[in-house]
Subunit: 397 residues, 2 copies
């Protein structure tokens, strides 16, 4: 017997969902999940009357049986006998299960996020969402066995085409890639990137090396061949501790500290000159917040004025590349206690054009389109955040 | 022959200064150092008329001969034959030498930061500094050989008493401790903490584990026995890569990314309940910036509302502990391009009482008391930042 560890968000969860379709959490363990996962009912309130594009929806493969429909025999056997093996990383709390809202488990008995019909009802229809971007976090990208990761990525993308994109015209998806191998990742982008349902290449934020390093360049090249942005999502597990000061003890530290990895990636992509090499590359930072961004720009610009000789490829201050090349999703926002702080943050970032709404459905920290934004924002700004900025980035009609 | 690597700021520099008193950088290598290290002459301008307490001055042991006066024979032999050995960490750029301003190398031929007479002239007298806090960054704290690190710490602290604190009443110092061993560190705090010149216990920010972990608690206990705050300074080298996404390629990424480690430490100290165990513990974050703090508080509070069950020791939201227990130094500030952003940051942090001025003398990124703060701050706020907040924290008359 081999122990099969399950990966969600690139993090191993001790209670997996694959191959155990009926596990929905009972007793002790679900109390926390219940406590933290009450989603408000849609009310048809004011904000929901704006058009909504949801930039972060998580679809889940319901079972190994479904996976095997898309996985060749060679890798099916590997998956059965060895299963997922990545670097150690964060673990979801046991009670969070599948990291899903308690009410997101569909009546069909399938895991949360795996039942299209229920997602339509609970998310797309309920909030009248014009488009939603699927980011499947199965963990293919972080596999140590790179060929196996590539096979999983192909299976997941074929499954996304057949069971999500073709049946539901409101959905778009990110291409899952084995991102620790630039060649294999580029092959997968070339293979499926022509499908109109794919609007992004998906990486997780904790990688083995910072994403500006040369090993990842072929991913950006391939994304540009397909005119796709690259999305970097919360999660994953790098080759070392999850902070620069070692392993923290708690999940709340892992979750609360995730912006550190986003900061490392922004710094790396800019300082390595990736945007000089690929001037039209666009990068969406998904589920990493954004309030840390302006201070990072100021600090980097200050460093650059004194240390630019180390990175001569950069012709502009780092903040120039950051403002040109990065987009951000709203969930989770850092949720300042005063609404005016939110406007201050946007002013400090010096752009209204990069923030995009996301629900993170069906995860426990779901943001409703009706209450995600602070009160008092101008209608034009709300429109940009709720749909227009995403429409532009993802080339939606 | 053993290769002796030198440690400054817990970082190995390839061109060391110990045992090579005359090395001051010539030719090619000094051009960058010169370019980046022009310090403005003091002008006796408006801001300098405020009383100034400088919370971050770096004194340097001038030579191994000096060190040996304070190091017992057993460890002197060890130092001669083995030398410093820590985890791998960031390296200063070769051209930065000693990380010092080019003009901070004294005429005596001693390394920058090692000549008290010259420091008096160039810093204390020139800017009429009322008090200055010495933070000696020799690297004792990060030694793999803990007993050797403890011996170095004892030598450095005795040297600080004899050659800095006793001759110069304007100077105070931080106690250097072998912080990866709680017992040894506590012994050193108990040994010298009664000397009135010591006003703080010094740690570096990249540690082997996050500072909330139990191994470090005895340091806080000992600091409180001596009624001393704990200072966490830029630098050091943990047991893993310096980011949660692996090793970046450049020094600018190391330097620009240092706030990530500060964020990890704030998260850890708060979430581990250190301030519930030690309600009167005070922590100064030195050379780590502060503009990232308000977003971190918002994010942590949001996490805590949903995950407080994981850390039941916390009776308040994380931001409450952060506002009560942390102080910050001004150098380097994130230097927002608009002065009003600085006021926004202070408003978002919701305190004027925690920011403290520092020059970082004699390092290359020196901030002059005359130009460190953005224009347009109220006089009362300037007074707090330039001296009053530090006076309170460090118990200066």
């Amino acid at each position: 017997m081999f122990i099969m560890k399950k990966t969600i968000c690139g993090a191993r969860v001790k209670m997996g969902i694959l191959g155990d379709k009926t596990r929905r959490g009972t007793g002790e363990l679900t109390r926390m999940a219940t406590a933290i996962s009450s989603a408000p009912s849609p009310t048809g309130g004011k904000q929901s009357q704006l058009e909504v594009i949801d930039c972060d929806i998580h679809n889940i493969i319901p079972s190994n049986e479904t996976l095997y429909k898309y996985l060749p025999e060679r890798w099916r056997r590997h998956h059965q006998r060895f299963g997922l093996r990545g670097h150690l990383g964060g673990y979801y709390p046991r009670a969070l299960m599948n990291a899903a809202r308690h009410d997101a488990w569909p009546p069909s008995g399938l895991p949360a996020g795996s039942d299209l019909e229920f997602m339509r009802e609970q998310l797309l229809d309920a909030y009248d969402i014009r488009y939603g971007i699927l980011n499947c976090l199965y963990g293919a990208g972080g596999q140590l066995n790179l060929e196996y990761g590539a096979a999983l990525a192909r299976a997941i993308n074929d499954w996304q085409i057949a069971e999500w994109l073709e049946p539901e015209p409101r959905l778009r998806a990110s291409i899952v890639v084995p991102y620790e191998d630039g060649d294999l990742a580029a092959q997968e982008i070339d293979r499926v990137g022509g499908h109109p349902g794919f609007v992004q290449v998906l990486l997780l934020v904790r990688t083995n090396e910072p994403l500006g390093r040369p090993r990842y360049r072929k991913i950006y090249q391939a994304a540009l061949r397909r005119q796709l942005p690259v999305g970097i999502h919360f999660g994953g597990a790098g080759a070392g501790p999850i902070t620069g000061a070692g392993w923290p003890s708690h999940y709340i530290e892992d979750h609360g500290g995730m912006p550190q990895a986003f900061q490392a990636q922004v710094i790396s992509l800019v300082c390595e000159g990736v945007f000089e090499q690929f001037p039209s590359l666009k990068v969406a930072l998904i589920e990493g917040g954004f309030a840390w961004l302006a201070p990072l720009m100021w600090r980097l610009d200050h460093c650059w004025r004194k240390l630019s000789e180390e990175i001569p490829a950069l012709r502009h201050p780092p903040s120039t590349y950051i403002r040109r090349h990065f987009w951000f999703t709203s969930q989770p926002m850092e949720e300042p206690p005063q609404p005016r702080y939110f406007r201050q943050l946007l002013e400090q970032m010096d752009t209204d054009d990069r923030m995009m709404f996301a629900t993170d459905y069906p995860h426990w920290d779901f943001d409703s389109p009706e209450s995600a934004l602070p009160a008092g924002l101008a209608l034009e700004l709300k429109k940009k955040i709720m749909s227009e900025n995403a429409r532009g980035l993802y080339g939606l009609d």
